[in-house]
Symmetry: C2
Subunit: 274 residues, 2 copies
């Protein structure tokens, strides 16, 4: 059941004692679980910046604002914008916040959004693609999405066994960038890469034993493959890759954080693509 | 009071029912707070990798291992190494873990370490220095330390109002790298930078309106200044900086994660310093 169908009438905006209906609270609590995000085709974004980006680039179903902050200028502006876009706004009483918030300190606003429906074709547009092999850490995935967006790269593929991109921590750490990127969740990463190779993409993996990254001469039609921090790029994925590159270090650290690695590779791509 | 003085005799290693003394439990719980970490001059590192690095590069006072995992090969090896280094090892019963652990899932081992005593002179060795202006997020600081270590840069200065580098989340996300870096906590960042300038260092800040980073021609005697994500480099610090550089983006993301930015800047330093 979609949240649209359980929305209470607009009149609740006038309540002196802001209070969410139990049905909506239950729905929002359910959205903390992946299976319900999939079932309802919805997810939650929390915080002013994220909700603003969602309103601008995403499909917002419902906005919930902390009742006692409704007169703060940024929320007044948001309510206005929501009206223009015909998005419902409701207000939260203090007691409503506890069960539904996804952060320790509730930032005053959250929105329920429709999941993006991304097909393989959506990420194939002749521009670089980031392929993430079994990335499990939501903070890392969010930061990677944000970094890709910074460098103007919108195409992201997640292999099987990856963290859910609609997990609230992913959404939060993407800082709104996830509404500007296209994330295709592949059920079989190797098959997806094979298919991209057939379409003329060069598949390059970041590994510990590749060519130095400064030798990277990349064309836009490139797939950059990154593995998980604990296991690196898996062997079956590596078998599909045509090139291996490495970020040279000089110290004793065992590895770089994967989001930092993505940033470094994309900054080199930027230079060579210019 | 240091934990050394409250350590129970070695015989507890033989207990069939592993159990921590209340004094040690209380001490470890206190170490979750900055004021006690400062008072005792100690901090906690959790997890196999971190404790291994601590044993190798740091000053470990006490190691605590989950009792029912003491026969696992990695812990047997660790106990042996601790003996060689004359570090006390104790074992934890299931009930001991709850109050002292700093992660949801206890990774089986933690160590109490002595804080490093870093003076300004320790970070002035003619090599690059990373200066962090009011970085508050512990995960970001830990990742920056790890990234610096990867690129062989050991000198880090924190301005006033920064997160405590001995915070458990910083320690954890540094992945052991904090034992190989020297972190000087400056009480007055601007004064520290002025003094470095007098000693011939070039002070370069990463900002949103600097020269493109590919124009970076850096010498080893450089201080790279990074600001917090929410506020950037503060004006008083900027006034001391001689150059401003930027990482060029192409998308709509408002900013890059600060740890990602450090990684990109240091990878450029590496290329130009070779």
């Amino acid at each position: 059941m979609k949240i649209r169908t359980i929305c209470v009438p607009k009149v609740c905006v006038q309540f002196n004692q802001p209070m969410l209906s139990e049905k909506i609270t239950t729905h929002l609590v359910k959205l903390k679980q992946k299976k319900y995000r999939e079932e309802f085709g919805e997810f939650v974004v929390e915080g002013l910046k994220g909700v603003e980006e969602a309103l601008h680039y995403g499909e917002v179903v419902l906005i919930l604002i902390e009742g006692n902050r409704r007169d703060e200028p940024e929320f007044v502006g948001m309510i206005k914008k929501a009206e223009t876009k015909q998005v419902d706004v409701e207000f939260l009483g203090r007691k409503d916040i506890g069960p539904i918030k996804t952060t320790d300190t509730f930032p005053g606003v959250l929105a329920v959004c429709e999941r993006m429906d991304v097909s393989p074709d959506d990420v194939i547009n002749g521009k670089p693609i980031i392929f993430l092999d079994r990335i499990k850490d939501p903070g890392n995935l969010g930061t990677i999405i944000r970094t890709a967006d910074w460098f103007g790269i919108q195409n992201i593929i997640l292999s099987e066994e990856s963290v859910d991109p609609y997990n609230e921590k992913v959404v939060r750490s993407s800082m709104g960038s996830m509404f500007r990127t296209k994330i295709f969740e592949s059920g079989h990463g190797v098959n997806t890469l094979e298919s991209l190779k057939k379409q003329g993409y060069t598949i390059i993996a970041l590994t510990m034993n590749g060519k130095p990254i400064k030798m990277l001469k990349s064309s836009p039609k490139t797939v950059y493959v990154f593995g998980s921090e604990s296991h690196g790029v898996s062997q079956d994925v590596l078998n599909v890759c045509q090139e291996k590159i490495s970020i040279e270090g000089r110290g004793d650290a065992e590895s770089l954080n994967v989001a930092v690695s993505v940033g470094i590779v994309l900054s080199y791509y930027m230079i060579h693509a210019l």
